[in-house]
């Protein structure tokens, strides 16, 4: 009895499937007529009929633009510190710097700084005597230097923070304006750079600015040591 019922149900399912297959559902797209294709092929060889058309792809080739690799070799920033102007005391100094890193070892640096000279010992002791006017005490300089990363390394803070760093030597040429005169100067020194992030650099620098001057009556070689701290940002 059960076998008969099963056979009956199976026959019903088969009939339903074949019926569904023959129906034209709205989403069903019939294939191109087989007969018309054979006609096309048979007439293709006829000389009077036009040649079979070649299918032209309508898809345009995509132009792939490869993104440029950003270079961050340029560093712009400022510094602040103390400069010891020979005979005129230690004074605050502030300036701006621009660095271009050419290789992992060498970099160019341009700096511009300004300070204001204090009083000489003679002026301090003798009362009202003034060797230079206020405008002449303005100490401005620029220099163009070549730097060498002597000791590149890393700075570790705690267990998880590591920052790249470098101890560098630097030297160059420039100009110092002081006591109403512009003087050729050379500069040399050393600095330490640490990078807390990829785009920020912190600097500690010690440099000597050397030039010849006769600002106190006789010509002498003047050494002006400066120690500064600074920060700069890496650009393209």
């Amino acid at each position: 009895m059960e076998t008969r019922i099963r056979l009956l149900l199976l026959s019903g399912v088969m009939l339903a499937c074949s019926g569904c297959a023959t129906m034209h559902w709205p989403w069903h797209h019939p294939k191109p007529d087989q007969q018309s294709q054979t006609v096309d092929i048979s007439t293709a060889g006829d000389d009077n009929s036009p040649p079979p058309s070649v299918v032209e792809p309508q898809v345009e080739r995509r132009t792939i633009t490869v993104p440029q690799i950003k270079a961050k070799n340029l560093e712009i920033g400022g510094y602040y510190g103390e400069i010891s102007i020979q005979d005129f005391g230690a004074q605050p100094v502030a300036g701006a710097r621009i660095d271009y890193h050419i290789t992992e070892d060498f970099f160019f640096e341009g700096t511009y700084g300004r300070a204001k000279g204090g009083k000489t010992s003679f002026e301090e002791l003798s009362g009202n005597v003034q060797l230079l006017s206020d405008a002449e005490r303005r100490f401005t300089y620029y220099n163009v230097s070549l730097g060498y990363n002597l000791l590149p390394g890393e700075v570790f803070i705690g267990h998880s923070l590591a920052m790249t760093s470098a101890l560098y030597m630097i030297g160059g040429i420039g100009e110092v304006t002081f006591a109403g005169d512009e003087n050729f100067a050379i500069n040399f020194g050393a600095g330490f750079r640490v990078l807390p992030t990829d785009w920020l650099a912190l600097h500690i620098d010690v440099q000597d600015l050397v030039f010849r001057s006769d600002d106190i009556g006789f010509e002498q070689l003047k050494n002006n040591l400066q120690a500064t701290i600074g920060a700069s940002v890496f650009f393209w």
Binding site: I69, T103, V144, G153, F184
Partner: protein
């Protein structure tokens, strides 16, 4: 005065930091596939920094940015490190072609778009400091713009100039060149018994020199120039100058 400088410095740093950070998010990254057995990633942009990880053949890395000869990359696992440009040029792009990065070599010395440099020298007996930039019209012909300052015992001054440089055989390691140009000179005489006024005059120059390829992007350049200063007096002034310096191309 210094207070104002300090404020300006602080403001500059704020602007610079703001200007530099949003660019990172908007930048589309280049993806390269490692074709060599492995790619070493260092902890910093230098040959001495230790290797912290390696990327296996077939894996890809995203290129973040370049600093000198090192490129910071991010692996598929999100780890970041520094790969040498030389090693990364062995990797391939998505279309199978090799990654090309300009390293600076003899070919670049012969043919480049821009060059810049600084000089030291002597101009009419005064010490000279000069800087220049040049745009290459062809490998042989360049437009040069320069500024210089001369510091002497008698007078100080500035020169701003524009001119043409013709490099005869740019492929040679030592390539001779000639220059011609014009500009302006500002002269401030130093304190004398009879104080003459500051002077602004036009000038022209011709020069002959050579540039010598050193390594990578560096070259040495030396030049001798003769300047004719068109003064307001009856006779023009003729000044000699020599300059030696370093330049780099990019």
């Amino acid at each position: 005065m210094l207070r104002r400088v300090e404020l300006a410095f602080a403001l500059l740093l704020c602007v610079l930091s703001l200007a530099s950070t949003p660019a990172r998010a908007a930048h589309e990254l280049l993806q390269v596939f490692i074709t060599q057995p492995y790619l070493e990633l260092h902890t910093g942009p230098g040959r001495g920094y230790p290797v912290s990880q390696v990327v296996a053949r077939g894996d890809s890395v995203d290129v973040l940015f370049r600093r000198t000869d090192w490129i910071k990359v991010r692996t598929e696992r999100g780890l970041e490190g520094w790969a040498s440009v030389r090693e990364l040029t062995l990797a391939s792009l998505a279309d199978g072609s090799n990654l090309k990065v300009s390293m600076g070599d003899r070919a670049g010395f012969a043919s480049h778009h821009w060059e810049s440099g600084v000089y030291a020298g002597a101009y009419a007996g005064a010490t000279l400091i000069a800087g220049y930039s040049a745009l290459s019209l062809t490998d042989n012909l360049k437009i040069e713009v320069g500024v210089s300052q001369f510091l002497g015992n008698v007078s100080n001054g500035y020169i701003a100039e524009i001119g043409l440089a013709h490099v005869f055989i740019p492929d040679w390691r030592v390539s001779p060149l000639v220059t011609v140009g014009t500009g302006f000179e500002h002269v401030s005489p130093k304190v004398l018994l009879v104080q003459p006024a500051d002077r602004d005059d036009q000038l022209a120059y011709v020069g002959v020199g050579a540039r010598v390829y050193l390594a990578r992007r560096f070259f040495f350049r030396g030049e001798y120039r003769e300047y004719v200063v068109f003064t307001r007096t009856n006779a023009n002034e003729v000044n000699e100058e020599w300059r030696l310096g370093f330049g780099f191309f990019y």
